[in-house]
């Protein structure tokens, strides 16, 4: 009985207690700085995304300048979006959420600001080195060694700051979002070391296995847990509804902690890697459905009777469509790992469709929702324009769906063609051209979403100078 009460407490922290403190004790300088820089990169790297999408339609476009070829812009797009935009925005939100769930100030704003500066130095270093072709040759781990070391230092600074905040916490019970934040910090450390340092001591298939462990878990144990930390915090918070089940969130978290790390080698199914290892990764990939469904069911049940709130609440729109994309992308993943499906979709354009649904559709939607919620509160003002925020949602949603769905169709079609060796390879390239046109058009829509989002946030921040709207509307809306 007593246990139940305390658990109930943990579930309610984001709705009640934390809100009381949120407007008074927090400085949020670090959160602000991370957030602003992440949105700037979102915009810049969005332009690069359009350039590489255009290269599929116009192959010689900007093609005679080595620094602007596909082979150099693609890693810049991937690294820029993953680390410049998404991870930085996620970190901003952690600097915002964690102190509130602990009921204390961030351990050190100074350390936080230093982390933000270092992070920006890393991203700028990445831009220079990737354009110059200083590429280590490992997917997601392209950056040269000195930058890898800097990332580790920045991550330790980030982790120490949050862990010390948690150690000083006022509330004994730790809400789900705190587990996911801590899990992200711990697992990322080891996943990153594996992908960027352990690989230095291995070659061939052994190295590839370490590389895929990192690539897969960069999504599975970095962006997934930090994304879920955000979703678990903001879904109850922005809808003012307590989380449906604490037990279910425990099942989701601890099964994720155990299952995810086994699945890296599913990037090599049918490839030159031991068959038994392929089978193990397939089994564990299918088991991923457990943590995914536990989280998704929890979110849907939380919203029961509250769906009408989506009409006027842009953050909630992003959050709940992000949950749907999370469910879809995590249903695709286990299915891809099955040998029969893998034989069709692996290495095709289906895969970017899948990857973009995870990183853009699910986790960027969570981050955007968090940004829309956080910015008016930390700058003590109101959002510049709700209508513009709504526009950003629909542009992202329609552009995103256009991107995902056409690439799935195209990828499946391509895979079937590849499996018929009577069709020359070049014909399978030519067949995909309409798909790539649609992708570019969808890209423009998504970029429109980025512009609307970035402008809205920056206008809110600029507009906040001088007009100190009190914390009132923020607290009321919460």
């Amino acid at each position: 009985m007593e246990k139940e009460e305390i658990i109930q407490d943990a579930g309610e922290i984001p709705v009640s207690t934390a809100a009381v403190y949120s407007e008074s004790i927090h400085e949020d300088r670090t959160a602000k700085m991370f957030l602003i820089s992440s949105i700037v990169y979102f915009f810049i790297v969005g332009i690069i995304a359009l350039l590489i999408a255009a290269k599929f339609v116009f192959p010689t476009f900007l093609g005679t300048i080595p620094q602007l070829t596909y082979g150099r812009l693609r890693p810049l797009h991937v690294n820029g979006m993953l680390f410049g935009w998404l991870l930085a925005c996620d970190m901003a939100l952690m600097y915002y959420i964690v102190p509130r769930l602990c009921g204390v100030k961030l351990w050190s704003e100074k350390l936080g600001m230093a982390t933000a500066v270092l992070w920006n130095v890393i991203i700028l270093g990445a831009v220079v080195s990737l354009l110059m072709g200083w590429n280590q040759g490992w997917e997601y781990a392209e950056l040269p060694l000195p930058l890898d070391v800097a990332v580790v230092v920045a991550w330790v600074m980030f982790g120490a700051n949050l862990f010390l905040t948690i150690a000083n916490r006022k509330y004994k019970a730790m809400y789900v979002s705190l587990w996911y934040a801590m899990g992200t910090i711990l697992w990322t450390a080891f996943v990153y070391l594996t992908g960027n340092f352990a690989t230095l001591f291995a070659t061939g298939v052994n190295q590839a296995n370490l590389n895929w462990m990192y690539v897969h878990n960069a999504v599975g144990l970095i962006f997934t847990p930090v994304g879920l930390a955000i979703a678990y915090y903001f879904i109850p918070k922005t809808s003012n509804t307590p989380l449906y089940s604490h037990k279910l969130s425990m099942i989701g978290f601890w099964s994720l902690a155990f299952v995810y790390v086994w699945t890296g080698a599913h990037h090599m199914i049918h490839g030159p890697i031991s068959q038994w290892l392929q089978t193990i990764t397939i089994v564990f990939s299918v088991m991923l459905l457990i943590p995914v469904w536990a989280a998704v069911y929890n979110f849907f049940s939380t919203m029961k009777g509250q769906w009408h709130q989506l009409r006027d609440n842009v953050s909630l729109k992003f959050l709940m469509s992000g949950v749907v994309f999370y469910l879809l992308t995590c249903f695709q993943g286990p299915m891809h790992s099955l040998r029969a499906v893998n034989a069709i979709v692996s290495k095709t354009d289906w895969i970017p469709g899948h990857a973009h649904m995870a990183v853009l559709g699910a986790f960027s939607f969570f981050a955007i929702a968090g940004a829309y919620y956080m910015v008016p509160r930390v700058f003590k003002t109101e959002l510049y324009s709700n209508a513009l925020a709504n526009w950003s949602f629909w542009l992202f949603l329609i552009g995103g769906l256009g991107f995902f769905v056409t690439l799935w169709l195209g990828g499946f079609w391509q895979g079937w063609q590849w499996n018929n060796p009577a069709i020359p390879f070049i014909d399978t390239v030519i067949a995909l051209k309409p798909i790539w046109h649609t992708r570019l058009a969808s890209g423009f829509l998504m970029f429109g979403g980025i512009v609307a989002f970035a402008y809205n946030i920056l206008a809110t921040i600029v507009g906040s100078k001088g007009k100190e709207v009190h914390a009132e509307p923020a607290a009321a809306a919460a």
Partner: protein, 189 residues
Amino acid sequence: MLQKADYNAAFFVAAALILFFIGGLLTTVVPPLLDQSWTKPFENNDPANGPTGKLKPLNEQQLQGRAIYVREGCWYCHTQQTRTLLADTKRSGWRGVDAPISTPDEFVYDNPHLFGTKRTGPDLSRVGGKYNEQWHMAHFRNPADLVPGSIMPPFPWIANDPKEFAALVAYMQTLGRSKNWRPDNDYEK
């Protein structure tokens, strides 16, 4: 059992790391210890055991070529693995001879590995020896001239640099050649 982790951060950290390390160690450290083919270079002299041949490390020029392949990001669009799929062995094949599937022991010296995840262009795991230098020269100048419909961009700065061009082609001619899988040398002699 894990409810203690709701209140005790140290217990939480221990539990999260232990669960992570079970799978982490079993899937990264253990497999190369169990499967020797990950670290033992390919060598076979008995035709009864499949294609014969021996994996040799790359020479200096070939390594330079490989570095160019990495620098230009060729591996974002070209995979290097003939998978255990019938269609892959046909597509990697040459003039009616099916290519053998790629095995871990053919890649022991690869650093960085270049297996790739996306096939925007064709797989290159068995491309060595198929096209001569002139073909590659024309192809790097403008791929669509030789393969109408190709979306590979031109690489004039490689085609116009004799040293880089020679190195890159030298590297590509090694791909998939450790296994003697087809009648010798279509153009070399």
